[in-house]
Each structure stands twice: as C-alpha cells, then as structure tokens.
C-alpha cells in the first residue's frame, strides 16, 4: 500500500473543507464513529482553528456496537460537537440487500427536509471501492438523493460544484485522496481517538466498521495503532472484505449510491 505525504493530504483536505464553508450556507457532516469520519472531524478542528463549525450527524439504526455508542458520547463531549442523532429503521431495502443502507438514506432525507442542509460532508476514500473511485471532491445529488454518475460535472483547477437545483445538495469528500494506511498513519501522528473495535480482541478485530448485523471481524492480533499500520503494510486483502453488503450484489454499491444511499 502506498504511503502518501501526510502534510500534502492534510493541506488538501483542509482546503476542501474551507472551500465548502464558503460555497454552501448550511453544511453538516456524517459521522459513523469510524476511523475515517473521526479523522475528518480532527482535520476540521484544525481547518477552523479549534472547533468543528458544523453539526455532526449520526444516522442511528439502533444496532450499532455498544463500544460505538460510548465512543460517540465521549468524543462528542470532548470535542464539543453539535451532535444530531437521527434514528433510522431496519427493513429490507429496494434492491434486496439484507442491509439497512437505503433506510439510512431515508432517515437522512427526513433530516434534510427539516434542517435544509445544502451540503453533507462524507468521509469516503477512492481506494475503498472501485465505485467510490469515480467520485468527485464535491458531488451533487438531486432532490431524490440520486447520484447521476453518468453525467458528472467537470471538476478541475480548484473549482468545485455548487448546488444544482433547489432542494438538492452536494456531497463533499475531503478524504478522497487518502489511502487506508494514510488514515492510520495520521491517527498515530495526531493521536486521534479511535473506536476500540478496531483493535484486536480474542484474535479478531474490525478492519472496517458497519453495524452489528453486517460487519464481520478479521483475524488479527493488532492491539495498537502501530500494530495495525504494520499489519496493513503487508496485507493483500481488501479493507471492506468483512462487509457483507459489498459482496452480495456486484453493483450493489453503484445502485445504492445512485438511489441516494451514501
């Protein structure tokens, strides 16, 4: 796995967050308490000199791990986050995956109707999944949250998309360039708090975090950030191999994203 220059990555993410703060009037960020979205919040604190200036949303389906809930409470308090917890239901989604992904999109839609956010910060990375690698730094969604992946706007020269029509919003992706190993190296460098589920217990740890129904742990003895980095330096297995949603249907990710699921 290629280890990129962390300063360069950080500068770009800071730039994107600050651009978003100028281009949009009502921003919010999604937070899953995972390593990526927590890293994004740490960077936002730097970008805006100490405080995260936008609300942070947890779409809660009620079946997250207990460690996740307690991590949420602790960090929200420590970093003085403007936390919004929006409940989502669990039921089969339109394309038949046994995952609640699309229901989280419904919960987010409800919240957005209420709060009228015009931009949502999402901490996806290009290297996570081949479909994500097609994303832009700022990517518009229509009123139904659909991603028109066939007709993406031109994005170049530090210019990014602003809204496309009333009632739509833009997804902001400040971590697009980061690799999995870069996130961990940054966490180590900056001493960022980490959800304990990432560390090994009884010979297993979670490399990627979903909720209790769809996340499968991987074999590992890595109990510290250093150990995780060492493990990643030699791994040949994809990060999301423990996420059943990705496997079930080849184009599940593309369909779900096109439908409005993040």
């Amino acid at each position: 796995m290629i280890e990129q220059d962390l300063n360069t990555l950080e500068e770009k993410s800071i730039f994107i967050l600050r651009e978003a703060s100028q281009r949009f009037k009502n921003i919010a960020a999604l937070w899953s308490m995972g390593k990526d979205s927590t890293t994004m919040l740490a960077i936002a604190r730097k970008a805006f000199l100490g405080k995260v200036p936008f609300p942070v949303i947890h779409i809660d389906n009620g079946i997250d791990f207990p460690e996740t809930y307690s991590f949420r409470e602790k960090l929200a308090k420590k970093w003085n986050l403007d936390l919004i917890v929006e409940k989502s239901e669990i039921k089969p989604d339109p394309i038949g995956s046994a995952c609640c992904g699309a229901n989280k999109a419904d919960a987010l839609k409800e919240l957005m109707k209420e709060r009228k956010f015009d931009a949502i910060i999402v901490s996806i990375r290009r290297d996570e999944h081949s479909i994500r690698s097609k994303e832009r730094y700022m990517s518009p969604r229509d009123k139904e949250f659909r991603w028109n992946y066939k007709n993406q706007p031109a994005e170049l020269w530090d210019d990014y998309t602003s809204k496309i029509d009333a009632g739509s919003h833009v997804r902001v992706h400040p971590l697009l360039d980061w690799n999995e190993i870069d996130v961990w190296r940054y966490i180590k460098k900056e001493n960022i708090p980490v959800n304990p589920l990432y560390f090994s217990r009884n010979g297993f740890r979670y490399r990627s975090l979903g909720c209790t129904h769809c996340t499968v742990p991987v074999k590992s003895n890595a109990k510290t950030v250093d150990a995780i980095i060492k493990e990643l330096e030699s791994t040949k297995v994809e990060e999301r191999s423990g996420r059943s949603m990705d496997k079930e249907n080849e184009y599940a990710m593309q369909k779900l994203r096109a439908l409005g699921y993040m």
Partner: protein, 407 residues
C-alpha cells in the same frame, strides 16, 4: 512518498484501460480479489480475460466496453508511486477527460498501431487539451504492436505523423518520447520486449520513472496567496492557499488585489499551528492588522514589490466543449463573473492551425483565441507565469462549456 500523477490520453478502444489493468497486474499493485472479480466478470460476458475490467467498474462500462468516467489506479514500481488517471476516450465524455487530466503533470498517450486504427481526431484533441492544461511532458505509447507483427516500420510511420502535430501545439521535442508496446500482451511495459529488438529505448515503466517532474517556470519568489474568504466570519482573519512564493511574519506590507488594500500579516496558521512562515502549497489562515469590509473571495495577497494589475479585460485561449450561448460566465478562483467573449481567431485542435474565420464543423470541440470583457476587475496573470491565476472555466447558463487560459 510523493505520488506522481500521470494522465492517460487517447481514442476509445486504443487500450488505455487495458494498459492500466496490465500495469496493475504486472507490478502486483492490485489485490487478487480485484483480479478475480474482473476474471469472473469477463467470463460472465463470454469474453477472454479483460484487464480493463479491473478498472472499468461501472456496470455500463464493462458491458458496453468503454470507460465512462475518470478513475485512478495506484502503481508502485521500484520505489516510485504513480497514480494513473484513466479517462474516457469518447468524444461525448470530454468533460470527464478534462477533469481527470487536469491533475496530471505528465501525459501518457496511447495510440493503436492496428491497421484502420492509428491516429484519430480524438487522439489529437486529447493532446491539444493536455497542452492547454499545462502538461509539458509526454510519453507516446504506440499500442497493439502484437497485431502489426511488431513492425518497426509501422511504429515509425505513426511516430513521424504525430511528431509534427505534437511540436506544432507546443510540446518540446526533448519532452516527448515514443515507445512501442502491447498492453494486452504486456510487451515493453515492465521489461524489454524480445519481439521488438529494434527498439533501443527504455520500456514504459522505466521511461515513466525517468521522466522528471516539471517545476514552476519562473521562480523569482513572487508571492501569491489566493483567498477563499473570512475564517468563521471574522473580517480580520482570512483563509487561503499559497500558490507561489513564501511569506514570513514581520515582512513588509502586502496588498490585497484587486481590492487595493494594504495589510500587515500579524499571524500565520498552517495545518492548525501558528508558524512564522508559509510556502507554496500551504493552506493558511492569516491574521490581518485590520478588518476588511469587502468580500475577499478570489482576491490575492501579494508582496508590495510586484503585484499584478487588476483587470477586466483579458486575452485567452478557450477550448469549447459546448457552443457558447448568450449568458456566459467564467469561474475563476471561487468567483463567478459574467463576461462577453469575442473570438479573434479559431484553432482546429486536430491540426493546431488557426484562422480568422471558423472553418471548422460546428462550434464545440474547437479552440478560440478570444478577448474577454469581464463584469468586474480581477487579479489575474498569464497562465505561463502563475497557472492558478491564469486559468478559468467557462459556463454558458448553468452548463460547463469549456476551459480557458490567459495568454
């Protein structure tokens, strides 16, 4: 490590995605899972294994056999990291090609040597756009050599035909090299091909590794900071990016152009920490000695010594992806500025030749040298002096219509 951005260029079907798929496999830069997935899918579509499937992941791309959008692949070769930006070759997808290619400093052009393929209009258009985007280094990979019996004659034929055009649009000969390859068979990619002993140059990856990075043309230390706006609404605290030069605390006063306000920098924050100086590439927060009562977005901070003169009249080369309508705006450093565009001459991107009248078919996928009159003054420079202050996007109504560089 630094990741070198390389954009692929070329007509659809000449093998860009196949080349990247091969590069990923040959350098072992892709997981077995991805290779297996691509193999499985090739089988499903009743095809021989398509390395291009490793990258073309949208299902329309695999089933339709074409790349729709730009995507990237990271390759590690002998301690150098490359990010290959794959772009669609199809004419209709030119916006996606422009977006992808804009991140690169080196272009890798793929041209098929196959009979009835060879140099196409789109091949040349891609080169023209790459040159406009400021790319100076070019490697031309003449592909599918396995389908022309590895003929040196065919290779030279394509090379000669292309080099005229390449020089005419502004690439220097010393910055361009030509390599015969077969992406599908992996010939001359990692190792010297035994089938092309007449070729004495390096194989592709070696050539890429040896291509030096281009630095800034002028390095006279002139300071340019492009401002994004006020931090948290505080009017004596600005956020921006240093695109050129460096700034130290306690230096002589600086100007905000085009506002014509002089300020003193009282504090500099880089990556969350207070520092004494900032340099090119840093995103900064600057504490000023006064509040600014105008909008600063898109303005620049420069040293007193040499500041560009604010202007509302620029001369630019514009590549149009759409015909211009009545309602034209340019997007420049975070600002949207209404303008009028008056063409002075028309350039055919497939020949590089210009004429005073539009002799080309249609009014899109053409280039023009034009005079632009803007609705207000901006801080701008020639593209060749400071790229970030000399480039803009053109919109007609709400639609992206092209790119422009100030000449």
């Amino acid at each position: 490590m630094k990741v070198r951005q390389i954009t692929l260029l070329g007509h659809k079907d000449h093998g860009k995605s196949t080349l990247i798929g091969s590069l990923l496999m040959l350098t072992k830069s892709v997981t077995q899972t991805r290779i297996n997935e691509a193999k499985k899918y090739s089988k499903k579509l009743n095809k021989d294994f398509e390395p291009a499937f490793i990258l073309d992941s949208f299902h329309e791309e695999r089933e339709g056999g074409l790349t729709i959008d730009t995507t990237r692949a990271e390759v590690l070769y002998k301690n150098t990291a490359f990010s290959f930006i794959d772009v669609p070759g199809h004419e209709e997808l030119i916006n996606n090609m422009i977006s992808g290619a804009s991140y690169a400093s080196v272009a890798l052009l793929i041209v098929s040597a196959k009979k009835d393929e060879g140099i196409q209009d789109q091949t040349k258009r891609h080169l023209f756009i790459a040159r406009m985007l400021g790319i100076k280094k070019l490697i031309v990979a003449i592909n599918k050599m396995d389908l022309v019996e590895f003929s040196e004659q065919r290779f030279m034929q394509i090379k000669d035909e292309l080099s005229d055009f390449i020089n005419r649009i502004g690439f220097r000969s010393e910055d361009v090299s030509y390599i015969p390859i077969s992406a599908y068979k992996g010939e001359n990619i990692l190792d010297h091909s035994t089938n092309m002993k007449w070729y004495k140059g390096p194989p592709l990856l070696k050539a890429l590794k040896e291509t030096p990075e281009t630095g800034r043309a002028k390095d006279d230390g002139a300071l340019r900071i492009i401002l994004q706006g006020f931090l948290n609404g505080k009017r004596n605290s600005v956020m921006g990016k240093v695109v050129r030069g460096s700034i130290k605390l306690g230096e002589k006063a600086t100007c905000i152009i085009p506002l014509n306000v002089n300020v003193r920098i009282k504090s500099i924050v880089v990556r969350g920490k207070r520092v004494n100086s900032a340099k090119e590439g840093n995103s900064v927060v600057l504490g000023l000695d006064k509040e600014i009562n105008q909008d600063v977005r898109g303005s620049i901070i420069c040293g007193e010594a040499y500041c560009p003169i604010p202007t509302d009249n620029i001369r630019a080369r514009v590549f149009l992806t759409k015909a211009l309508g009545k309602d034209t705006t340019i997007k420049f450093n975070g600002m949207e500025i209404r303008c009028s565009i008056k063409p002075l001459s028309y350039i055919d991107p497939t020949t590089g030749q210009s004429s005073e009248r539009n002799r080309l078919k249609g009014s899109s996928l053409i280039a023009i040298d034009a005079q632009l009159k803007l609705s207000r003054k901006i801080a701008a420079e020639r593209f060749d002096d400071t790229q970030e202050l000399g480039r803009f996007l053109v919109y007609t109504g709400t639609e992206f219509a092209g790119i422009g560089i100030i000449i």
